[in-house]
């Protein structure tokens, strides 16, 4: 019988916090890293680039800044897609990879590493196969002209399993010295190689997030089930397609530059549910901001905790899971019925 806030919109103070916190964290993350740069030099590198050494300039502007921006968008994309999928599939256990995005992207990356020589082809191949996986899930789940929720989830599970098997085949075929490490690292997720050219992926991520953000109140209605949503005056097919497309494009663009980070899309939305409730009008913006903040902090830890960088996918699960269990105990459940 928890009381929840009445209004359908976030209050202005909270809205400001949701926008300011990720920006602040991006800024803060510029001050940390293995290569030691004094705070004064970091500020100079940003404000008066001429006044610092080229090495400092490179570390701050070419390495840390694009990395933090990428982490923010990847976190936001995975988290908001997870939140949207949970609602429209009426299933709190669903995450951003439900329609096969992650495994599709993984296979695309493996394929490029093994047969296309790696490099930039990895990004294009993983993006293309991520989209392909979702399209395949959609058609696999399409039974006699309607795409029901359950059949779509089953279709996604089948396509995921299929691509997961293909990933294994690729690992089997890969050269164990020159190619297998690359595959393994990709599948564990990392922002280590991010530079400005990768930030092209920010555009599709931003568009995907925007599509979900704009549809956020209608996602509430979609979570009532197809028949009810239709009777309430929502064109179910159109909105489902829009939300799934938005979430898919965002996730696929995220995964293709970061590798597989599966955990965020399940748990960050639930943390959002605990904090703000289940109304997607508020949950979607909160998920975007929380996902971004979480990923910036995780990446910061990944690249500064130990002398060699930790894979971020692993770090997210190792730090995030106990934190989630703690929240669950503290809030006594309450995110789902």
């Amino acid at each position: 019988m928890r009381k929840v806030k009445t209004k359908n919109k976030l209050n202005p103070v909270l809205t400001l916090m949701l926008i300011a916190t990720p920006l602040l964290l991006v800024f803060v993350s510029l001050f940390f890293g293995r290569y030691s740069v004094s705070p004064a030099n970091v500020c100079s590198a940003l404000l008066r680039p001429g006044s610092v050494s080229p090495a400092v300039l490179t570390v701050v502007r070419q390495l840390r800044l694009p990395r933090a921006i990428a982490a923010a968008f990847v976190g936001a994309s995975l988290s908001v897609s997870g939140a949207a999928f949970q609602s429209i599939f009426r299933n709190p256990l669903v995450n951003s990879g439900i329609l096969g995005v992650s495994n599709g992207a993984g296979f695309g990356a493996c394929l490029a590493i093994v047969f296309l020589g790696g490099g930039l082809t990895v990004y294009f191949s993983s993006f293309a196969f991520a989209l392909l996986a979702v399209v395949l899930s959609w058609f696999a789940g399409r039974v006699s002209k309607v795409t029901s929720t359950v059949s779509l989830i089953l279709g996604g599970a089948m396509v995921s399993a299929f691509f997961s098997a293909l990933i294994s085949i690729m690992k089997f075929l890969a050269d164990p010295y020159s190619q297998l490490p690359g595959i393994t690292f990709w599948l564990m997720g990392s922002f280590a190689s991010i530079n400005y050219s990768h930030l092209t992926a920010v555009i599709p991520m931003a568009l995907g997030i925007l599509a979900v953000f704009l549809s956020r109140w209608k996602i509430n209605v979609l979570s009532m089930g197809d028949k009810e949503a239709a009777s309430l005056g929502v064109d179910v097919r159109k909105y489902k397609l829009l939300v799934i497309t938005g979430a898919t494009v965002a996730t696929a663009s995220a995964v293709c530059i970061s590798g597989t980070i599966g955990w965020v899309g399940l748990v960050i939305p639930h943390i959002g549910r605990m904090l703000i409730g289940n109304n997607n009008s508020k949950l979607i913006p909160v998920s975007i901001s929380l996902g971004a903040c979480f990923m910036i902090v995780m990446d910061l830890i990944a690249r500064s905790l130990t002398s060699s960088e930790l894979p971020i996918g692993i770090l997210c699960a190792v730090i995030g899971s106990p934190f989630f269990v703690y929240l669950l105990k503290k809030k006594k459940g309450g995110t789902v019925s």
Binding site: M1, R2, K3, V4, T6, K7, N8, K9, Q86, S87, R90, N91, P92, L214, S215, R216, W217, K218, N220, V221, S223, M224, K227, E228, A229, A230, S231, L232, G233, V234, D235, V236, R273, G277, N278, N279, S281, G334, T335, V336, S337
Partner: protein
Amino acid sequence: MKYKVDSLSFSYKDLNILNNISFEINSGEAVCLIGPNGSGKTTLLDCVMGLHIPQQGAVTVEGRNVLDFSRKDLARFVSYLPQTHMPMFPYTVREMVLMGRSAYSGVFGQPGADDEKFADEAISSVGIESLALRQYTSLSGGEIKLVLLARALAQNAGLIVLDEPTASLDLKNEYEFLETLFSLIRERDISVLMATHSIEQAFRFEEAGISAETLMMRKGREPLKGAPSDVITSGSIGEVFGVSALISTATGESGRQFRSVSVTGKAD
């Protein structure tokens, strides 16, 4: 507002469900659908909501076929109260009722101050103000039905379609739900199309002075149609439900008469 079902026939593949069904619902009137399981009550409701395409005939609102409406436009004329309902996520009661305003919001719209006012007004007109901030999933069965009724009211449609609204409610909740529904029909001139397993509810409409044409559905055959007391007889119950039944009348203290149906055995 006039809602009309005109010689409607519908089959799933080869299975004929609805056969030549016609009726009209005017403002402030009700139509009750009764009949055994699988006799096509829910199918007929779905046709009225434009969710099925009938092989013959049509459902019209103010002379316009429901299939020619967009979902959004139709939702302004027809609202729906589902039979069973348990959402995955615990929205608050107010958030649930606010969803009734979907048909009035833009493509990417959020509900505005007007919509919130409509929702609050709907909440108070079914008398559940005290529940407004509660989680919907923590409510009792009777309360849930009132929330769904409030949501249908917030939709501000002329016709409310109800599918077994009182199934699984206890006596008091059933009584209160029906009384709330009756007062809404009287005060707001709403039309009601209600499928029910509880045959006696058709009598309740009649006893409350609300015109309630009753259709006794017979799968694949034309339904029996007329006033509740004409349609619900031991003869028709025997034929359609396969049980022999007695219709009895009890007189209350104020002289009001109440009819009830007692099943006495299987029909021969």
